[in-house]
């Protein structure tokens, strides 16, 4: 019984972790890209530098959901909470 509760809670936590972090990163990526498009439309000659800045920004933003995904996979595959219950 405790095992089932822990397993279910872990999966729910994984879903929340992944969904919320993807939501935030999606909003962030959208903002960065839209501003880049706007900037390029105003000053097409700046496209090269804007693209570099956009890629740096997206790299920062994408790191967060990927860190979340890493922690989530750790929860699923090497469940430390389940180990507490089973005492192993």
């Amino acid at each position: 019984m405790e095992r089932a509760i822990v397993l279910g809670a872990t999966v729910i936590a994984f879903g929340l972790l992944l969904g919320l972090s993807a939501l935030g990163a999606g909003i962030g990526d959208g903002l960065v890209s839209s501003r880049t498009v706007e900037g390029t439309a105003r000053q097409p000659e700046m496209q090269g530098r804007l693209f570099t800045l956009m890629v740096i920004g997206i790299g920062f933003i994408e790191a967060l959901p990927i860190i979340g995904l890493g922690l989530g996979l750790f929860l699923i595959f090497a469940n430390p909470l389940l180990a507490q219950i089973t005492g192993k």
Binding site: T52, V55, I56, I58, G59, F60, E62, A63, I66, I67, L69, G70, L73, F77, A78
Partner: protein, 233 residues
């Protein structure tokens, strides 16, 4: 009830113990592979150099070197610091290291926190060194202790830089490879090539972006540290 296959996914590194220290054998091997590849690449480039009409390879290399050099110069404008060679070394090493994990049977050396933390500590020492050099010891201490209540915050800020730098790179590469394994294990074989190919393409992008970010951040941390403040500099 669906029976999930018992998943055995290898996330730990095989280690050997020398003089009480654990060494990750696969990481060391893969780092040496990357170094070997870079040496071979350098030797090929060296043999292709022409003073007259440059070859295509030489043109491409010069464009990349010039781009990164210009980026570094722009970031470090007006400071007595030269980081171009370091930036080019970092970005080529990290690019090949990040992409090595996409070759079947090989792993990235950067999927180990030790590698990325080592590189981040190098950048940390570099930042502190240039900070002391540009501000002198008195100025450096003044910068740390300028407003006493903020002293712990400044120290945490300085210490958090290498940690976030190393975690960003490590998790991106580690999760990329783990997901590639998971796709192969969890998705039926007849369709697993599709998400596999898509994720591999995305990993190529991520690897390049993370190598670039690591380099740019190292350079800009030095740029921030060597900034000479107007009033009390």
């Amino acid at each position: 009830m669906i029976a999930l296959p018992r998943l055995q996914i290898e996330v730990t590194h095989p280690t050997i113990n020398i003089a009480g220290l654990d060494f990750n054998v696969d990481t060391i091997r893969n780092t040496l592979i990357v170094c070997g590849l870079l040496l071979v690449l350098g030797a090929i480039l060296r043999s292709q150099l022409r003073v007259g009409v440059p070859t295509q390879l030489q043109n491409a290399t010069e464009a990349v070197v010039e781009y990164i050099n210009n980026l570094t110069e722009e970031t470090l404008q007006g400071r007595n610091v030269t980081l171009g060679p370091l930036a080019i070394t970092l970005i080529t090493f990290l690019l090949i290291a990040n992409w090595l994990g996409l070759v079947p049977g090989l792993k990235s050396p950067t999927n180990d926190w030790n590698t990325t933390l080592g590189l981040a500590l190098m950048s940390f020492v570099l930042v502190q060194y240039y900070s002391i050099r540009s501000r002198r010891l008195g100025g450096y201490l003044k910068h740390l202790l300028l407003v006493p209540p903020y002293f712990p915050l400044t120290v945490i800020d300085e210490l958090a830089k290498p940690i976030t730098l190393s975690f960003r790179l490590y998790f991106n590469i580690f999760v990329g490879e783990l997901l590639l394994t998971l796709i192969i294990v969890l998705i039926p074989t007849w369709i697993s090539w599709l998400p596999g190919a898509l994720w591999t393409l995305f990993s190529l992008f991520i690897g390049a972006v993370q190598a670039f970010i690591f380099t740019v951040l190292t350079v800009s941390y030095v740029a921030i540290a060597t900034e000479v403040e107007e009033g009390h500099g």
